[in-house]
Subunit: 427 residues, 3 copies
């Protein structure tokens, strides 16, 4: 029977100890201290705001955490259909013994207090990791992160490079770069040295990936040193007032240089493709970004051809780009599918996109899932969602439609969830 | 068991009395007088034509209604697989006691005569509304519609504005505007006054929405008064021979002004995005329009940001735009998903698009369905199709996949089908 | 019960004798001589290469067939999840009595030898056709193919025209054209005569279609004779060094002329829309092409309007274009949906795309499937895959969701699989 089959496959996958290959965890404060950290996640604030809650109520300066939670709970009714809401409930049930199916003004306070008590334990992050069966989580580190004060085998550094590619015109980015490298990226040559220094620092601290998020119109291409020299000099001279052309040329040069350094340092380069920043200007914190789904991986043709030795784990923001991703991973040895990102991280899109990948991309080239979380508590419900869908697709499309044995399906799921993360990031 | 669960949820949803928030009903002749009104619906004529029936056979001047039906029935075999054909059969079964599963040259005549007899009753529109469990239907009124001679609480006016935005260069549109407002839209200021007059007229007659259909390349932006003055003057001076640039500027100005008036008058602005008119020039009446699915809601960024006080119920023509719609409704408080339009109004696309909305858009921000009908008889089978899919998605993706109770699923479905129409259009 | 229903519908469809309306079979060597012909299919070489197998190991000059198979088998583990791999296994089981579910280094050699023995029979192609229940297969012939030495009622010629539209600037293409027509396509008039001669040759040899594959940015338009004269002359004068503008104009003219000849000769014009050639330059043979899914059938508006008398069976490379295809086939009498091409020829996309077509496109206007194969052995597993999905969609979406009888579903499937191929290509 299909439902029982799904459940058995899920149970087998749910028993695995995993590594989460992309998160925004702060390793110095990895878990929540109150439910306000949970409900402050942009998924809740932006959905509550979208459903009518004024931004000012959410982001009032100096707002007490408990009052913030109280206010948000009062506004969650309109979003209790969403999968994001279900993460909250599952988290409350699994970590804090919450017994209801909705968090309401009637039952929230006990939950808040229970959570606060548990979270107060200095051991809480370790408890969460253990209950979530997580061995390690990858971070998203600013390029000038000292990477000190935490265990890099559990909290694994990754070099995030959006600032360097898209905001190098800003004086504070320039200053941060100089602070940590003692170099100015004002010429092609010094930029190369600065970036090389960053990679040395990160590689020396167990970094496992370089990563960046990219807008839909980005199309990487090699920029000559002479063009880069002009552009970079302009960025240092004019700052944010530099021309768009110079900003683009400088960004293009930095991006290409990052790929070169990934090659030199044998680091995968995670590309997260398709986001437009700041589309809804009046939105809540982290709730302003959207996208234009008219993007194609053909824009990355030159990059993929130029760097056969670099593995590119790729996430796409829109489900309509997923077939291209599956096809490019099917053809290019260095393209790997990576998780289900943001607006595509909901069951309908995961199911469709996952099914397409499982049947057409080599099994060694699929990274099943990452949580993208800011606080450790989210890995459990997010991975649980994914594992349920993975079990459903394996049961329905492999065991039933294609006659696979249950064991074969579980082996495949295990590789997607765990094996490939090791093979790709821990070579 | 899944099928029984679906049936129970469907039955609960099917018991609801609904308001149809978008139709093309003529309130002075809302129902059909013969089956020719039914089979004259463009879905049948265009599909029959696509399958080989010459346009001339369908649109012969002076053609007797019964002969028209006879001819079309003879040509429906090639389209009896389509969902549109199923609407015909269900309608015939529910309203006219038709007992077969196909309408053929053998059984059509009795159906024709039975229908004609029933339709002859002066009470027929009321009977159809009652059997269809419809309390009210929204109209699509020309801007110069007198809105007289009908009960606006049952046939609810909506101001359709395509002519003003896209055809103001045409002398007859200019004349119609002058006839009903005594104003010429030949300057920014007079255009504002003319549109304001239209809104007064419509608001005074219980109008619940302003609406427009838009081509894929439309991208609204504020147009200055001075640019509008030049453009509008050119439209009045040169008519259809005005330059494309002036037509675009004038249309852009009118569109932005419509949004301003929606704000002033607290009217939702229905945007139906993505249609190219007249793609198949030799097609039957209303069977000539298609689309370019390369459209993005990023084109509406400025509009959504500029009018936070206006609700935009949005329909997209292509399923590939649905994820953007769901994401924009998830982020922008003023963006609402609206039904399943035209080429996306078939089960496979409805199911995929609906599932994505139900799990990621606040439950208060989804208008489930409208019939888009020209004659009242179509609401019943079209809504029945939608309710079956809604029941399927709720059963499979919420009750089974997410463990929801049946009651909770029915509550959600009820809000999508009925509650939100009231909340959004009857504030 | 759904699974039994699927199986019964599948069994009924699987009993049909079919015509395969698009393949790359060489009629002088239609079947494989060893497993190397099977494993040399680009689906295996490109997937193995994508999973890490060096191109040099696959394409080593003079490589012995058995050693080639040995090497590839050793590398298939990473792709044993793919649907393409399942074709291999099903083929081995059905034709060669293979009993395992994976081909490995342990069991491959017996399979190789068994296959080689069977394939050595001069009767092997006929055996394969018979076991595959294939009555005829359509070919993809170069324009200068002599079409001699085979039975054109079994191996049905189709005129492939990519070279003429996209490579006429190349001296060897010019030479080949002159060799077979004694004409130079260096003016509009002579081009028309040359193409006419090709059509005469093909029509005289039982050709059933003209066909071409097109890049995403192709947009056919009528080119004037005077512009064509300039462009064609430039191609003959400068060869590959001719300007892009001249190449485009010449290609546009040739394409439009092909459509004219299809009209004159009552030949369907198969359009395969969306491929970018040579995206992955270092890929294996035939494993270098990808695509940009940002394509629209609106680009073909002028063509469809200009040639109402030509049937255009259309394949799209990306699933995101499928809704447009279904809609254009629903409106344009001369647009027909054609199979599931290449990167869309995997179960998840077939299922979604097929479901959308079955419910919205006239049943007479859908060509269900073609194998696209290079060797006869592939028709059996590829068609079996398709028929399983067709049976699933008919069972779930027509019998269960819409209450169709099993017989009605089988009738519909039969028309899609067999009837329409005859009606469209054998008028």
């Amino acid at each position: 029977m299909s439902l029982e089959l799904r459940r058995r496959i899920f149970d087998a996958l749910d028993a695995l100890v995993l590594i989460d290959p992309h998160t925004h965890i702060n390793p110095l404060s990895p878990a929540s201290t109150t439910l306000a950290d949970i409900l402050g996640y942009h998924y809740y604030t932006e959905l509550a705001h979208s459903a009518g809650m004024p931004k000012e109520q959410i982001e009032e300066p100096g707002l007490d955490p408990k009052e913030k939670v109280h206010r948000l709970i009062a506004r969650l009714g309109p979003i209790n259909n969403t999968i994001q809401y279900s993460w909250l409930v599952e988290m409350a049930q699994k970590f804090f013994g919450f017994a209801d199916e909705r968090v309401t003004l009637q039952n929230w306070e006990l939950l808040y207090d229970t959570a606060a008590a548990k979270m107060a334990s200095p051991d809480w992050p370790r408890q969460v990791l253990e209950q979530s069966q997580l061995e390690a989580v990858f971070l998203t580190n600013d390029f000038d992160d000292p990477l000190a004060g935490f265990d890099t085998s559990v909290y694994v550094p990754c070099l995030r490079t959006d600032d360097l590619v898209f905001h190098l015109c800003k004086p504070d980015v320039q200053d941060r770069l100089t602070s940590c490298t003692r170099l100015e990226a004002s010429s092609a040559e010094s930029t190369r040295r600065a970036i090389s220094a960053l990679f040395n620092h990160f590689k020396g601290n167990n970094a496992r990936a370089c990563a960046i998020s990219l807008p839909p119109d980005f199309s990487p291409a090699k920029v000559s040193d002479s063009r880069a020299n002009t552009a970079l000099a302009a960025l240092y001279q004019h700052g944010s007032a530099a021309s768009e052309a110079d900003k683009r040329a400088a960004g293009g040069f930095v991006f290409w240089t990052l790929a070169e350094m990934c090659a030199e340092n044998s680091l995968p380069f995670d590309l997260m493709i398709g986001v437009n920043r700041g589309v809804y200007e009046a939105g809540v914190h982290q709730g302003r970004d959207l996208y234009d789904s008219r993007v194609s991986l053909i824009q990355y043709k030159d990059l993929f051809n130029a760097f056969p030795q670099v593995t590119f784990p790729i996430s796409v923001l829109a489900s309509v780009t997923n077939q291209e991703l599956a096809s490019y991973a099917w053809i290019f040895p260095n393209v790997v599918t990576n998780g289900h990102w943001w607006y595509s991280n909901t069951p309908t899109f995961i199911e469709h996109d996952l099914a397409a990948r499982l049947e057409a991309v080599p099994r060694t080239k699929q990274i099943g899932y990452y949580s993208d979380m800011y606080k450790l508590e989210f890995a459990l419900p997010k991975f649980a969602m994914y594992k349920r869908i993975l079990a459903k697709v394996l049961a329905e499309r492999f065991c039933i439609d294609r006659g696979w044995s249950e064991e074969r399906a579980v082996d495949f799921g295990t590789q997607i969830l765990r094996g490939n993360v090791e093979a790709i990031f821990y070579r």
